[in-house]
Subunit: 385 residues, 2 copies
């Protein structure tokens, strides 16, 4: 284990050397899943790198799915980079509300209207909503076609574009309808983050902090030391957090692609967070904001169980707060409402609530082995009622 400054030197030094050699040099994280393996390419000016795009999107028929916010910024550049391919586009409304089963219909319509066959590629150009939805279309069009993720948000770069979870929401729960369908490649062009609003950037940082809390204590220390560079959107710092987060995610996904066990660790803060999103009607709280508050709740419950110390709990919450993220849920959400939403969580088995909790910073566990009273008391702490 190195010190905090060692981590900075090693990681930023490595990146800097590469960046000096050529401006568009990419860093690569491999997601090793046998015949479903793929690479995450991290770098700058990737969207206009026609040779990279042609190598990663070998099909002639390409359908780009994006949203109304992203389209005016990046769609033309991407289509131009795809050159003489048969390119069709589908521009959906922005926002979590668009992540519905019926939002898939215009994409299917467009695919069929253009006569796209099983050899076509879908490209998801957008954040988590577009990636999840376009990925699910790819999983189900003609029973499965290839797709490539080009994430435009920090959250999508470090989390949702990696790992093959695709799907849409149901009024009764997030991501309740979907499929495991791995992309053929993820292209993380850091330049696209320049257009990302601060609030969205902070929301993405919630997932970055999640990796540190759940399994990477050294990264936690790095983040504590270097948050200012990150929020200044220093390119090298961005490259490092994207790469490090993807490495963490890839390691877990490789060990448990279909979430039979360990992969559920990635849901730290999500049982609580999904309940916040659901109870507030999906939209007022960004996913990352809800997960930030949810992680604080998981920290507090872990401390109540004495699985972490009060100091560790405070340290985790402090980092989340320094990142400008909420550290508690809306006080109007009652414990009953929380439990109602949490009971629909996909991790549950046989009616028992399974939660991701901490047994130390950087050491998460999936557990149903806690007294229900501790959960209730934690929920009551946050509630008006």
């Amino acid at each position: 284990m190195g010190t905090q400054s060692d981590w900075l030197k090693i990681s930023l030094g490595h990146w800097r050397n590469q960046a000096l050699s050529t401006h568009t040099k990419t860093r690569r994280v491999e997601v090793a899943l046998g015949e479903r393996s793929y690479n995450i390419e991290i770098g700058q000016q990737l969207l206009t790198d026609s040779s990279l795009l042609h190598a990663l999107i070998p099909a002639n028929q390409v359908m780009v799915v994006t949203n109304e916010t992203i389209a005016p910024l990046y769609l033309d550049a991407l289509v131009k980079s795809l050159g003489t391919k048969q390119v069709a586009t589908c521009v959906l409304p922005d926002g979590e509300q668009a992540k519905r089963l019926d939002s898939m219909l215009p994409v299917f319509d467009e695919l069929l209207a253009n006569g796209f066959d099983r050899d076509c590629y879908l490209v998801a150009l957008g954040g988590g909503v577009i990636g999840d939805l376009a990925g699910f279309v790819a999983a189900t069009y003609q029973r499965g076609v290839a797709f490539v993720q080009i994430p435009t948000t920090l959250l999508a770069m470090v989390d949702s574009s990696v790992g093959g979870k695709t799907g849409v929401n149901h009024p009764c729960g997030k991501n309740m309808i979907g499929a495991f369908h791995q992309p053929k490649a993820v292209i993380a062009d850091l330049d696209l983050l320049s257009s990302l609003p601060d609030r969205e950037f902070r929301a993405g940082m919630a997932e970055v902090i999640k990796y540190a809390l759940l399994g990477d204590a050294a990264f936690l220390a790095w983040l504590e030391a270097h948050l200012p560079e990150v929020f200044a959107r220093d390119t090298e710092a961005l490259a490092y957090i994207v790469e490090r987060s993807c490495q963490n995610k890839a390691a877990i996904v490789q060990a448990d692609e279909k979430e039979a066990g360990q992969r559920a660790l990635l849901n730290l803060g999500h049982s609580f967070g999904h309940a916040i999103e659901g109870a507030t009607g999906y939209g007022p709280w960004l996913h990352g904001e809800a997960i930030a508050a949810g992680m604080c709740m998981a920290l507090r419950l872990s401390a109540r169980l004495s699985w972490i110390t009060a100091e560790e709990c405070a340290r985790g919450i402090a980092l989340i707060q320094r990142a400008g993220l909420p550290i508690e849920p809306p006080s109007q959400i009652t414990p009953e409402t929380f439990l109602d939403f949490m009971q629909r969580d996909k991790k549950n088995r046989g009616g028992q609530l399974r939660l991701v909790l901490l047994k130390g910073l950087g050491n998460a566990v999936v557990s149903a082995d806690y007294p229900e009273s501790a959960l209730l008391e934690t929920l009551q702490e946050y509630s008006d009622g």
Copy 2:
């Protein structure tokens, strides 16, 4: 290779011996797909065989999906056989029109309203529409749960319930949205065929004849000799055609689960047939009827190419006609309409029409290696225009 009468003796003799020993003894066809392997159980009184059902449906939470025609006949018996499990049911409208993306919503609603988790089982009690739709719900609910097929039609027993193809139609094409998702078991209770209308039974026979034509010349001879027993719904003859068809299908699916090549052979008659269904608006023609006419068109095109003799062509068409099935498409469908629908076929690559044709009875090939003029002439033969 045995003679026709050998086949009858061996197959029916085998079955009769089993049937004598116990009335509910089942025959079993294994679909060997590694960790996705499962058995097709063929027999009588299986729907009321509580111990068999409990063995094959080990979950506590069970959602039975069926339709308005089947529910009054068999739903109560099945629910009773499932005993003390938490059983929910969803009854959909009957018919191909129900095989739409939005027909899945009530099933998702019901699953979530009942708090069903990832360990639940879906049971498809019905024909091909229910099996395809419930299977697709199972493929996508919480990114995939288990399901069991209990086919109630001959077509579903011999074809659609086996092999893991699930999905729904799009206005522009059949089965355009779906997933590969293998069932955990198929329970083919021959007693359920007693309620099947003659027209539906004949439509199922189209798929039975398909197996014979595409790869089982001995079975073709058996069918020619024993069609009367089959249409008298003699239990032993039914058991034999279901078993033999499932063996044929299993062999092909095992060799090519995701239809990278050989599996497309199972689409003999389907490129033409899907066009007939599409051009007539899905409904007036049963799937099996359209496939019957489609197989005759494939036979005629194969003969035109001199890949089979005129006698072989006539022999194939004669069997289809003896089974009371249509041997030509509606003459109002123009060659242009056929081509328009056929161009959306999932087998196509790079805009080229790939068809399943015959190079001998019992020897199908997937090919785009034929003069387009031969296809056009064949289509023109059938057309008014």
